[in-house]
Amino acid sequence: MRDITKVRNIGISAHIDSGKTTLTERILFYTQRIHAIHEVRGKDGVGAKMDSMELERERGITICSAATYCDWKDHAINIIDTPGHVDFTIEVERALRVLDGAVLILCSVGGVQSQSITVNRQMTRYRVPRVAFINKCDRTGANPDRVIKQLREKLGLNAVPIQVPMGLEGEMQGLIDLVRMKAVYFDGENGDKIREEEIPAQYQEECDIKREEMLDAVSMFSDELMEAVLEGTPTEEMIMAAIRKGTLALEFTPVMMGTAYKNKGVQLLLDAVVSYLPCPTDVENFALDLDHEEAEVKVSNISSDPLLALAFKLEDGRYGQLTYVRTYQGTLKKGDSIVNVRTGKKAKVGRLVRMHSDDMEEIDEAGAGDIVALFGIDCASGDTFTSGGDYNFSMTSMHVPAPVISLSITPIDNKAQDNMSKALNRFTKEDPTFKTYVDAETMETIISGMGELHLDVYVERMKREYKAEVTVGAPQVAYRETITQRADFNYTHKKQTGGSGQFGRVAGFIEPLEEGEYEFVDQIVGGSVPREYIPSCDKGFQKCLDKGALVGAHVTGVRCAINDGASHAVDSSDIAFQLAAMGGFKEAYMKAKPVIMEPIMKVAVEGPTEFQGSIMGSLNQRRGMIIGTNEEDAYTVIEAEVPLSEMFGYSTDLRSLTQGKAEFTMEFATYRQVPKSVAEELIAKALKNKK
């Protein structure tokens, strides 16, 4: 079995157009996973950019498949695809869970852009150590020093260069490694022949200064190095150990540079990944103990312990359904039986493969910390597998946030209909926050999720990947209803005129429930409602929850209690008591002062300070509550809580308000009661729709 300290699970994160695809491609080339370099730009070279998805399809490989494996100098590197958007909270969370470290790619001209800020913030939240790579140093206007300054100021990273470029823009010849004090050239047509030489005289002075700075910064992490620096005898090993220590503690970010397009610096980046980014045992991962209210337990990373593995991505490839899993503890062996903690179902590990860029390798087992793919396992992404028994742990919380927005989709023809259901079936498996159902009244297919963009992307994917053209309805916000006070009911359902009669009387009350959606309380004493009909009452109440009487939204936070009733020896039945309970609920509901709740989003707008006023104005207009601002040089981040219903089309508005200089992100925060005026409007609208 592979030595776990020689495994690196890394993500590559980048702002659009900073060269993620090119870099990934070069990495695969130098690690001999692919044997020729294809350019992202088309032959005409005028900027016919292809995005990675199309590129992937054209070449029939998955460069950015969920996980790609490659070898570099005796180490195994798993490159995990990291989605860029915050809208997919769960998906981002999952990708960040399985990585141990990351490479932050920045464009030497564009520098730190707002998406980098968001991704960086998330990585800090999940404590992902990272190294930075300043790409495109061959571009006109390249300025790595400015990018490093931005890394420090905008991202708050202790970013220190460990390389000096020999020339920039068109004149870039190679790099100087400040750790070893060597000039490195990348010869050959594809830059695959590395030549090391002494530092050219004209760079000597600059390198001495930069090395001094680097040593100052890293000696903070090692007393040994500190002493050696004072004595003037720091060794390569000492410096590398100190850089590694600082990087793992997230207190130091080594900065490398180069240009993937011109084949410079990629091999050194790979060296850095191996030297400075953590192996699975260097980072702490936690599992949730389901027997003890999801308490956090540290995973052991030992291959001989019971199995704990997380399915983080499903892929529908040429070979059928692939499930990507990361093992955190224990060993995944071919032929073993494993248990899906969510469903409790047992499954047998059939084929176990390691994914390479364009082929796969069958393996027999995968130890702790590894990333592999399974065939023929029925599960959803985010599921945890264990070796079974009473080993009841989960890698992710079982709590899935309820969707806050929905859309109706209609396929344009029969073929699209088939493809659409195939697509929906897959998406719901992949993403637990994406849900779909058919509205019983309008017979429309409804998809629901965590935000406008979230659904947009799935609609787009349906078109692209499944060729399912659909027309999309206007987005609907998922309102909810809840009650604010206790109300009693006493309802008799009676239909005893001809035929078999129906009779049931229930009395009790409904009251607000602080936590949870619904609770049923049976307070019947003396058998006024026969035992067998009590579940019928429960069922009756639950039927009422689907559509509240105010605006037809889902009702939550209700405790229904029954304490009295009556039955008839012949005419009482299951359905009679269900109807009685429904009648009782309806009787009490309006008395219980129901209110409408709406999803509130946490919105963060980043933009130049001069637009602060107009941004705040635009948020205020949308019933937003501004929480505050955070000042960062010329940039300001404004955070606010805004009702989702007011956020439609905000990106267009924001763009025109700020000349396209501001960007915003939003995620679901909570449900809150809608103000009176809005509630009246909603009720009037619901009434109109009923008619």
Binding site: Q612, M625, I627, G628, T629, N630, R672, Q673
Partner: protein
Amino acid sequence: MQKQDLIEKNPIRNLKGESDAKESSRMGLVMARAGLGKTALLVQIALDSLLNDKQVVHVSVGQSLDKTKLWYDDMFKDLAEGCKLNNAGEIHDSIMHNRMIITFNESKFSLAKLEERLHDLVQQNVIKPSCMVVDGFDFAQTGRAVLEGMRELAKTMDLQIWFSAVCDEGAGSQAGVPAPCNGMEDLFNTVVLLQPVPESDCIDLKIIKGSAAVSKCGKLLKLDPRTFMIRADCK
């Protein structure tokens, strides 16, 4: 209990000046060593203004927005639960509209920037604060001139400003305002030092300058070390 009772029962009133008329253009200072509840006290001062339907700007140096917001949510919850407030959620939502948090990185804070921001906010009609609390202001690094500027700001914008400052362990044993704020006491109307009381479970609010914070029964105010709430009941 109603909102009005909450306002009246809040013992913090005594600290903020005898009456509302005198409340504006004052400066106050809360000092303590780390971990005794400076921020909590500032938030309670801010909450009192909010409950009086006044607008508050909270300037936080070196702390994130989320963290600061959490302070408010927690303190409000404690306050509301402590006196069994009806419709707490509604009141919370309505008063928090009047609060604005501005955060700065430690190195980015400057008086000029803050002044500019405040003027912007007022001009753009976003908020017109009558109280500002400044948490994390570095007294050791800033000179007297900055505080004089603040004093001026308080006057021109008709603001009450409260600061927090960290002092060294053991401060307060000698008379006067402890370092790093010694020599600046003339700029403040009120200076409060938080001090743990040995062998007891509370934190004293020692008034170094200004009207004594005497609660109704005539004793000194104390903080509850569990919640950092000012105690209404005097034992």
